[in-house]
Subunit: 469 residues, 2 copies
């Protein structure tokens, strides 16, 4: 999951808002279909197909940052995997974007207590001069404190933002914390800083820094930006308590790369009655470069692919089509998601609903919807089938997942199968995002929920209307 680039997305949408995505029919689902959904749910708990898929992706591809050789390998993998699993149609759609290269990244305290620091560059940070950037640290408790500080207060300094993200099942600590990553460099530069170090946007205490996107702004100097691991942020704080100037040297050779064209990878189980109508489930195929992208978002790819594959094993195809979309380059700004929305903007009425899995591999504890009110009885029936999985119904204000933001803003209805993300930000965007963090049992529970969602929405009569209602 990356920052949500809502502003850019909104630019695409206003003229579409008047499209009616709702039909007159009262939505309903048959008893037989509910029974099949329950069988699929139970079947999902018995397979480990999801785990096989994420094991395959992390082992055979590994890191797949947008625009790297890993990205290309992942696209190839996705196409081959969907074909191997018996999807009826498998294709790719191009997604073009600027790229960024990490390079070497080191930091050390120069004085008063020389020792190395573990850092990682933030995505799209500029590099330092080759000899590194050496300057005194100026600490702020929060991004707001920096914003509210006087002009010129950080002249020639490296700003350090100490804010600690809090841990929560729903990941609610991320929003308040992540602004320091996205906007920190701009705000620090405005105060005269020559660089910025933030405490990693994460909830662990391991010596790994969390990367993720940052942005520059026209007219503000582009200063190098990196994250410190939590123990290194602690260390700097402890040094600063001694009331002596703390001088740090940071060396980054990060740089912008060429434009690159990757691909959304799409696999379809083609519907038997209304093949042109479809449900989207999926995740994003890219990852950051530090880990193998098991949780972010190999798990989402695996869960949704395994769910669709279970439906493909039924003696007959569902009424509507089910598309698994493996979105390209989510991490650097929902680029694949925007490309998909743009490419399919004329078929919005055919997209019955969507749900992305992009919050790791923890168990799902809640189902949220965003559908027209007449469709809520079907959602209620769906929730009943999910109940034995430990899932409760939440509300009708679902987000749908980052890669569905563009489509949602154009009016498609969405669902959120909300995962337990208590530990998600322990690993998020670090080298530690690896296969061993995934439990088969949790992954199967996720697959079970997605298969219920996909099957019921593919079989129901009527539609969910617009998520904008």
């Amino acid at each position: 999951m990356s920052m949500k680039i809502v502003q850019n997305v909104l630019l695409l949408t206003p003229f579409l808002l008047c499209v009616s995505l709702s039909s007159a029919a009262t939505p309903s689902i048959s008893e037989q279909d509910l029974k099949t959904a329950a069988q699929l749910r139970d079947e999902a708990l018995k397979t480990s197909k999801g785990y096989e898929i994420v094991e395959s992706l992390t082992t055979e591809v590994g890191p797949r940052m947008a625009g790297t050789a890993g990205d290309a390998a992942a696209v190839k993998w996705g196409v081959a995997k969907l074909k191997e699993l018996g999807f009826d149609k498998v294709w790719t759609e191009p997604v073009t974007f600027p790229t960024w290269k990490r390079g070497v990244e080191t930091a050390e305290v120069i004085s008063p207590f020389p020792q190395p620091l573990v850092i990682t560059a933030l995505g799209f940070s500029v590099g330092t001069e080759p000899e590194g950037l050496t300057a005194e640290i100026m600490a702020f408790d929060t991004l707001d404190d920096l914003i509210n500080a006087p002009e010129g207060i950080a002249d020639g300094k490296i700003v350090f933002i100490k804010h600690r993200m809090h841990k929560a099942r729903d990941g609610s600590g991320y929003g308040p914390a992540v602004a320091a990553r996205g906007r920190g460099a701009v705000e620090a530069a405005k105060k005269g800083a020559v660089g910025i170090l933030i405490r990693s946007i994460g909830t662990d205490s391991h010596r790994m820094a969390h990367t993720g996107m940052m942005r520059y702004e026209e007219g503000t100097p582009r200063i190098p930006a990196a994250a410190l691991s939590a123990p290194d942020a602690d260390l700097l704080e402890n040094m600063l308590k001694r009331k002596q100037p703390v001088k740090v040297k940071v060396t980054l050779d990060a740089q912008d790369g060429e434009q690159y064209t990757s691909h959304n990878v799409i696999g379809e189980i083609t519907g038997s009655e209304k093949p042109e109508e479809y449900i989207i489930i999926g995740g994003h195929l890219d990852s950051w470069d530090l880990g193998t992208g098991a949780l972010d978002d190999g798990a989402g790819i695996a869960i949704t692919t395994a769910a669709a594959e279970l439906i493909a094993r039924l003696p007959q195809r569902p009424k509507r089509s089910i598309r698994v979309v493996m979105f390209a380059n989510e991490e650097q700004g929902l680029v694949g998601a925007r490309a998909y929305a743009e490419a399919h903007k004329d078929e919005l009425q055919k997209i019955i609903t969507g749900a992305e899995s992009d919050f790791g591999a923890g168990k799902i504890w809640r189902l949220d919807s965003r559908v027209k009110s007449e469709a809520l009885p079907v959602v209620e029936q769906m929730a009943k089938i999910m109940e034995p999985l430990g899932i409760e119904y939440g509300n009708n204000r679902a987000g749908g997942g980052p890669d569905l933001i563009p489509l949602r803003q154009m009016g498609i209805s969405v669902f959120s199968l909300r995962q337990d993300g208590t530990d998600y930000f322990d690993y998020h965007h670090t080298p530690d995002d690896t296969l061993d963090k995934i439990e088969k049992e949790s992954l199967d529970q996720n697959t079970a929920a997605y298969v219920v969602l996909a099957y019921i929405t593919a079989q129901m009569d009527g539609d969910f209307g617009s998520g904008l209602e």
Copy 2:
């Protein structure tokens, strides 16, 4: 804690075994002294002096691998800290040893699934050629499997030892696992290998490799040796399951350095009645280079220094002297410990007993002794005072801690205050050995136990005899 280099130590000892370290007096301790010991125990639980000390060492010095600038800074820190805390005498004793430099260390899978691997060189490994070492992986479940394999089986290959260390409160998984680190390179070279990668000797699943000592042998080629992080060892295993050759490139520029002279740092609370008799408590001042040496062994330094300092705050000095010894270069072969034993071999009868803290910062759960049987009643009384700390008496076969092995083998009695090491090998010898892994409360409990041990042994009438009895 490093591997115990018992063989080397034994060479020093035979001629000393005939020294009698036992006097005729039946050991005893007064009720008043036991009362004071209990007061000291309770006082220890109220201070956070131990935490202050380890915070100071990790913040102001940080990594302090033997022979580095950090080593020199640590010696300076130790002397200053002991003086600041009011020790009566503070001095250093020289310790000379060969050194080793880590340098850059990288690895990657070249084929069939190119991706980076996280490794770290083992201590005293040779480097590779500058362009790296590229070869196919040959995996063995255990070191024994490698030893028992046919001659030449690993010709031109990089051996990979998959053995997983198990987790246990008493650290009992370490012994069976660590041989792969110490002897792996020699055994692999004997089978024709050009390099060796071991699964880290650790119990975590984080993407950090565990360093530690390895040894070469005269007449066997010196091949590069490194440890893989647990997730990277998993990854290699998963790749190998595909039954295709897995080719890896390893680049190490590790190399031997110059001889170096560091120092044992010693602080004494000088006894009021028998100042020439003393008790040793302590830890080792060096660490590996990857972390800040908080658990290994900043904690031991802190616990024992804080315990002695509590005794120094009493209105009068104890009868015997208490020495806090901060041993130099434990990690690379108990070098400081052997130097101390050699320098003090003529005063063994004056060393009443000893105990080293070198197993992290977990709570102490057991007291073991190694004393003459006539002294066991005093040990029993000591155990009673420790009981409220959740400590039970174990047996009379204490080890005393790695740095007391040389003295123990010369005949001094020892105690072991056994810590809960369940998580110790999650962090041991990794970048993750940092201050945040230490809980103040546990550290205080440790200090409380050490102050009881030190005070009672400093006050008792009679002695503990020889640990060899």
